[in-house]
Amino acid sequence: MQKLSILSALLLPLLFFFAFTKTDASAAASSGGKLRGIVTDSTSGEAVAYANVYIKSLRLGSPTDNKGYYFIPAIPAGKYKIIVSCIGFRSKELTAEITEGEIKQLNIQLIPGSIKLEEISVLGNKSVRENEADLGLQKISIKEIQMMPTGVEADIFKVLQSSPGVSSTGDVTSRYFVRGGNSNQNLVLLNGVTVYYPFHALGIYSTIDPEMISGMEFYKGGFGPEFGGRLSSVLNVLTRDGNKNSFHASGTAGLLSGKASVEGPIPGGSFLVTGRKSYYARALKKFLNDQDAPFDFYDMSFKVNYANPAILYNGKFTVHGFMSQDMVKNGDPFKEDYSIKNQLFGLNWYQIWASPLLSEITLSSSNFEAEVLPNFSQSKPRNNFVHDFTNRFNFTYIYDSRDELNFGLENRFISTGLKMQNLYGRNISFDQSGYGLTGFANYKFYRYENVGFNLGMRINFASISELRPFLLEPRINVTYKPVPVLALKAGFGRYSQEMITVSNENDLISIFEPWTIIQPNIAASEATQLTLGLSYYLTENFSVDLEGYYKYLTNLSEANYNKYFVTDPDYINVNGEAYGFESLVKVQTSGMYLKTGYSLSWSFKIDPKGQLYIPKYDLRHSLNILTGYNLGAGFEVNATWFLNSGLPFSPVTGFYDRLNINDVWSFQDLSNFKASTIWDRRNLKRLTVYHRLDVGMSKKFTFGFARFTLDASIMNVYNRKNIFYFDRNTGKQVNMLPFLPSVSLKVEL
């Protein structure tokens, strides 16, 4: 069976490839002409993702994909005015002549707006493909990331946390929870490669430095069949290619870390190298309740791309890598040390074929290692590794009807190892490896002007874990536009997850979140999600999105926190349910940007005893307002305001005196007792309402041959004392971040 699976993994992509690749002659036989090309940034040559390419007279258009590629089929022969626009760039108008039966290649360069908010795209927030079945998808450009106040360190996950439907358990952590799912149900991809631990410094910041990215695709639910392995969300982060026109270097000094990047052209392509290193961990003291932690972290990435038309027309090869490490080295034999490492490496071949077929072949490896070394302290020894080797064959075929077929295969070889001791001194040791073969197909109907729907299926031919719940995972998304300004949307999908973390939900901050393949005797986790929504465009630059969802989760494997004895199971299976409503209002005028998100949600879990409880991250109400304004003369100000219901917590229902065994050689006379807390049912009460205002300001200026960007920001401007938790030993209230100013300076050469 294994051999058959591997054979099909190799043969199926080729079969698909020959079935859909057309020669130039057969392509020419199609009706009308076609327009395609790549949209790039005129200053750097970087691909511009999510730009709109639009033929106004025909009301036809296409958004660029994350590689900047667009394709408009079935255009009647003639001369047309093409409008290209994207947030952060000046719109461009140009003319193209379309010939019957031919593919016109038109590569377009966009000039960036001189400042972040200056230019507004012709279509505003709206995608040119109005019938796109994109329920739950949020495309976040680097410009949008830059609009958030930076804080001590710029962080892409903080941007996500401002989206409706995304919650966190405090402002000292970057961990995010999507629509009632646990944080380990979120897939984080960097150029398509899984990042298992995307955090620095106990989860306070993400490892992915915004400096190196070009954009993010965030699926809050209803993600297509090309993605799998997680129940809740997918974040696909795309890194920049590097400047194709000239060499550049930049350096940024902040309170916590320093970073640098170098980029420039190479024959036939470009390269980008970025690096970040912490140098003042004491800047995190406010995040750790004034506790000193000798953190030391770094991350670095590189990307080299090569495209030579003389060798392969419309083909592009990319090699990329990413490394990060977090360490705590106490230098004291009686204190524990820890280390967490990510190492990612990927090869990518992106090809636009003569017929309207795109292919993308990716080989990647992602290694994750985490270790807690107790030394001679009382801390528990723990270590974990994940070795993930994945290859993907993805194809997109575009029909003359404008319909698209995405299909592909994914092979994964994963091995995980875990050795740890729980609080009760019980050892958990589990090594497993597995091979997963998954195929997917997604037919996207774009042929009808008012209706778009995606019919997708993910098929699990071979599974990494032994008890996979189902072979087929249908994914369906529908969009219907009864009137041009209104789109009604619906989505349905089934999802499964075979890799889990052994984390304790009661840990607000955890230094160890090991990943492991689900144990052979436990069924993999599964989710079924139904989403309904609508998008309303009051004007081109004023949109309202409403979404409601219902999610049913089963076989959620949670670490058995009460593994008192060796024979007790390591995991328990929990079921869950989540539903809610979200709204997102976006307003964008020249020089001003406003995003307001609100969500009302419920999430529950049911433990094996049938007891229902609310998970730690359940937020009933959440309102986020993000705004940016261009003051001119290189000044920009921005602000975000968060207003959330209090997080759930377990209240105290009394106290008792328990036997204290300080010294095992002299406790036997039962004379030493210690007062202890008794907790009521899990997460029965809620903390006070959370609100916080962050503001930021940036100023760009030139001095000599260098360009400077000075960023100043203040977190928690009015010093709101948001409760983080009550200390379980002292009962003392511990608050989240206080008033916290920070500043950083970036120099670009």
Binding site: Q378, K380, F655, L684, T688
Partner: protein, 330 residues
Amino acid sequence: MKKLYILILIAAAAFFNMSCEESVNPKAEFKEQYVLSCIVDVSSDTVLAVISKTYDVDGLNPEVNKVDPALTGAEITITQATNTFKFQEGERLRTDTSRYTSRQQYYYAAGVKFVDNKDLRITAKLPNGKVLSAVTTPPAIPEIKFSYEFPNGLNPTVNWYLAGDYYTARWYPVNKNHFSFPRLTIPYKKNVDGKAVPLRKEVPLSYLKQDGKFVPFYPGATQSDSCSFEYKAISSALLNLPEGDPNLTDYILKYIDFELLEFDSPLTTYYSSTNGQMDNFSIRTEETVYSNINGGLGIFGSYRKTRVRKQLDAYYIRTTLGFEWDKSGM
């Protein structure tokens, strides 16, 4: 527009600054429960038990409670196979009077005798009719062996060809649900005003460098089947016995003791849940203390203490270290 925008931001900040602090009651309705604590030393003929009630205080700091929650009037029995032992009530002065000043109420059963590998069951019938109960199985008697048997008594300066670098104690059987606590101690007497005062010094596993100084590292809880002491550490412990006192002949010794304390499963889990920590950085909001008491809270556990006494090398003690050899034995 620009001015309006800035004005809105300032106004918003000012507005929210007005109510920056709120409070929440972190407590739920108080529920009274009963707590039974009883630890059995299987080699002792006396067992103690304490029963108390749960209580509530203003706020979240239970240390402010000054009312002794002890409960008297309960009927407690401990049973093994067909043998049942009844507890009696007693009271004594407290060693710690920081919270309660009254005498400590407790229960005791004297003249008990337990056999190996048989379950122990405790039952406490409270005055209100409520019953607390628990079961545990005492640890088995271990067999202890050492890495090297010294023909003339233990001498830590012995040639490593013969004994290696470590003096290792190995025991059998090992139960993976049990914590064992090994320790090596030097029993000695010190002449104080003509009187020999018995004292005991613990030997560390090794000495570790911390902040430029060497500090002793003692053995802790282990699930392993052995424990190794550096000969250098034994030697240092013996050398430092007088702690700078020049009158070496005031120190009288002859033996070194290896002791092994083994907790049973419930006591191991209880100890781990009250004394353990995952690490210094993780923040966990609530943690349940293990209890095996049916109908209430607390712990019923047992342990076994085993001691193996080894003689030291008389020549090494007298000539090398300059101490007095204990001719009387101990």
